[in-house]
Amino acid sequence: MTRAINPREAYGQTLVTLAEKDKRIVALDADLSKSTKGDLMEARFPERHIEMSIAEQNMVSVAVGLALGGKIPFVHSFAVFLSGRAYDQIRVGVALAKANVKLIGSSSGFSDYGDGATHQSVEDVAIMRSLPNMTVIVPADATETAKATEAIASYRGPVYLKLNRNDLPLVFPEEKEFIIGKVYQLRQGRHVTVFANGVMVSRALEAAEVLARRGIEVSVADVSTVKPLDTQAVVSLALQTGAVVTAEEHNIIGGLGSAVSEALRAEAGIRIEFVGVNDMFGQSALSYQDLLSHYHLTAEAVVQACDKVLAYSSRVVR
């Protein structure tokens, strides 16, 4: 297993390792292989890396054809181009046809901070989650990214894997097996439950430390698989505290917050707060951290959201 702390590096290395064992694995890029780390496949297996140039729609449909021919195509582009530019090709060719295509949405969220709104994705999870037959995974760090990459290679069917381009703190336990659809509780706590994924998992853990100093015990769950959502686990973790916060680097409409709310719709008396992008596009910034702070995707924002749900909750006497 790789020790890289950069998720896309971990992804690229894992894909090459998998491709060494499984000849069916092929990779496709649309002139972004240096960013997506498809270049590692190209260096190791040039004949199994297919450069489709700047044509995402054709790339996705070609991947469908490769899957029909028995290959396991990993399709790389920025999350926003894959989910947006090639949406109908994904809808008809991948999702409706249940093609064994792995869609790797790279440089997702605000992680391509400099390039601005055109290159950032705040809506990809919502788009992908609304497609029948689609599995949607948002790993928290490099370790989970590598493990998820292995898992989706052996899973048969359409997958959207959302990747971050920047170094992230390691939070996913090295010894844990990654299973698609599993919710990972990374910290126990009886006062409030935080469901997070992607970059927000490490921030939720930071928030939990801050709150612990004030005597508030926070349960933190990594909901990397947004779909299919482990509804039972979400309900059970939510009921343990009765106070829920979701945290994601995505529009609060349609992403993890929505998925958790849907799961909890039948549970009475649970208060929920969302930490996410408040229905706005991104913009350019000189650093990833600046952008995350600007859109309140911070540990502090998670702390505030926890305080807010706790203020409504009768279960904590302060």
Binding site: S61, L68, G69, V92
Partner: protein, 279 residues
């Protein structure tokens, strides 16, 4: 080259397909008569002459593939699949019924013999290219045939695929363009002229042929010639008539997707029966 008996056999098959298409449009059913009937001879020659395939083993690894990129012509493909024995001919009349396997546009997860989901236009050629590249990676000689509409050529993805197929020297890929010159709302030349499509395919690096798309002998000849082309994909421009075989619909955009009246339906059945017996 087809001999006289083979040609007669294929013409009879084409007539049977037209009869099946007519039966699938029993009033008040609405369907894509125009594009389905312009594609009949092309589909006939592929399924009953050119392609290696086995209805008893639809997933046979050595089969050639057909992708109906102009998915609205599904009725022609359904008729061919039924006549080949992929599913019972009685199924045809149940097309589009709720819960039934024959969808308005081809669905590989529902219908045996369908190779790809199409109908959202512009995607089938790319899927065909992916299949062709997959066979090349495996060192196999399977061929991939994709039927594209001339109206469909307005989709940008077609030209993305055209550029990529030439770059990857996909000589196991054949695109057949059903040039019936009509799109849903009228003549292509009047709606938004697509210009000199022959030169366009040539400029994209394809070997281009042109045939009478209702002449089974000419189509068979072109498909055989396509086998001899190496290092580049082949585009066969098949000149056709939308609604071919149904005089009330020939050359009329209104029958792109329409219901027949009782009189037209009877005429369609009668004419197609005569065509079957006539050969």
């Amino acid at each position: 080259m087809l001999d006289v008996a083979e040609e007669k056999h294929l013409r009879r098959k084409a007539a049977q397909l037209r009869r099946d298409i007519a039966e699938m449009l029993e009033p008040p059913k609405v369907g894509h008569l125009g594009g389905s009937s312009s594609s009949v001879e092309i589909v006939t020659v592929l399924y009953f002459y050119k392609m290696r395939h086995n209805p008893k083993e639809p997933q046979w690894a050595e089969r050639d593939h057909f992708i109906m990129s102009k998915g609205h012509s599904a009725l022609a493909q359904y008729a061919a699949l039924a006549e080949c024995g992929y599913f019972p001919r009685q199924d045809l009349r149940h097309n589009k019924e709720l819960g039934f396997h024959l969808q308005g546009h081809p669905d590989m997860r529902k219908t045996v013999g369908i190779e790809a989901n199409t109908g959202s236009l512009g995607q089938g050629l790319s899927v065909g290219l992916g299949l062709a590249l997959s066979h090349k990676l495996d060192g196999q000689s399977n061929k991939v045939y994709v039927l594209v509409g001339d109206g469909e050529l307005a989709e940008g993805q077609i030209w993305e695929a055209a550029m990529a197929a030439a770059a990857y020297k996909a000589d196991n890929l054949v695109a057949i363009i059903d040039r019936n010159r009509l799109q849903a709302t009228g003549p292509i030349s009047e709606r938004m002229d697509s210009g000199d499509i022959q030169s366009k395919w040539q400029a994209f690096g394809w070997e281009v042929m042109e045939v009478d798309g209702h002449d089974v002998k000419a189509i068979a000849y072109a498909l055989d010639e396509a086998d001899k082309v190496s290092e580049r994909p082949v585009a066969i421009i098949a000149n056709t008539i939308k609604g071919k075989g149904f005089p009330f619909a020939e050359g009329k955009a209104a029958f792109h997707n329409a219901a027949l009246n009782a009189e037209q339906y009877q005429e369609a059945l009668l004419l197609t029966e005569q065509m079957i017996e006539g050969d």
